[in-house]
Amino acid sequence: MSSETTTRAWGLDHQFDSLEQQREASFLGMWIFLVTEIMFFGGLFAAYILYRWYNHDGFVAGSHELDVTLGAFNTAVLIGSSLTMALAVWAAQVGRRKLTALYILLTIALGLVFLGVKVIEYRAKFEHHLFPGPGFEWPGPEPAASVEMFFNLYFLMTGLHALHMIIGIGMLLVLAWLAWRGVFSPENHNLVEGMGLYWHFVDIVWIFLFPLLYLLGRNAGA
């Protein structure tokens, strides 16, 4: 019963020496993945900076076609979902099984609200012929190619972000079920913590996307 070398701690997988080492491995592994994600999204942010430099007027015109109210609302929703995710990790740390599952379900609900608003926004862009491709129409005076480049990056960046959220929601559903079944304990809830890291990262990407895409040149002509 005492901490003999032969006695395995509760929640410790066989390949680790201690709970601390197990947690560190899980935490670090997730961060290594997130670093690749930083570079993945980072390439798109770099492309955005460059094309905006060359197509400034078109980017401002394109940005004015986006709905700031919906964008700000979604930003608040996503920050709220980060809070509920952080609270889910807290609940797992202190061993509150049902509360962990509840906070995860709340996070999923807020994520779905975000995606719902995104669907409304995307539909409006399709109806206004702002989706890049043969159907793209722009009356001017800004060059249509510049505005189209803005919408190329808009759909690519928000689309990739939304894809991350859809995958995240899918994994959170499994996580909520596992939490409800009592798989996690104060000793080992690394899966909850790892999913939390992923969800917060997706939040960070949006924190940059919102001002860069929605708020460009809003003061012009005011």
Binding site: E20, R23, E24, F27, L28, W31, I32, L34, V35, I38, M39, G42, G43, F45, A46, I49, L50, W53, V68, A72, T75, A76, I79, G80, S82, L83, M85, A86, L87, V89, W90, Q93, V94, E193, G196, L197, H200, F201, D203, I204, I207, F208, F210, P211, L212, L215, R218, N219, A222
Partner: protein
């Protein structure tokens, strides 16, 4: 030894700070600040991201190895953007 459990109070405070930051970002976007507009928007975004990384993602209380990994990720992104811009933004220097 045991992992650090962040009190709920801290999470609520960070959440409120992030919401205030979002409101300021939207408000500042409508002011006439010239090139400062972009600077202020990005400064607020970086501050918000730092809060999320330190408190929501627990990096403040994690090991040095994890901290180095996180910093390295953002540092390499800065190198990517920095070298890209040092090329494209200086091309006009030669032709003019």
């Amino acid at each position: 030894m045991a992992e650090h459990v962040t009190p709920i109070r801290v999470y609520i405070l960070v959440f409120l700070a992030l919401m205030v930051g979002t409101a300021i970002t939207v408000g500042v976007a409508y002011l006439h600040l010239g090139p400062l507009n972009d600077l202020v928007a990005m400064a607020i975004a970086v501050t918000k991201a730092t809060l999320v990384v330190l408190y929501f993602m627990h990096v403040r209380h994690s090991s040095r190895l994890t901290k180095i990994t996180v910093v390295a990720g953002f540092l390499w992104l800065a190198i990517l953007v920095g070298l890209l811009l040092s090329d494209y933004l200086t091309r006009g220097f030669l032709s003019s």
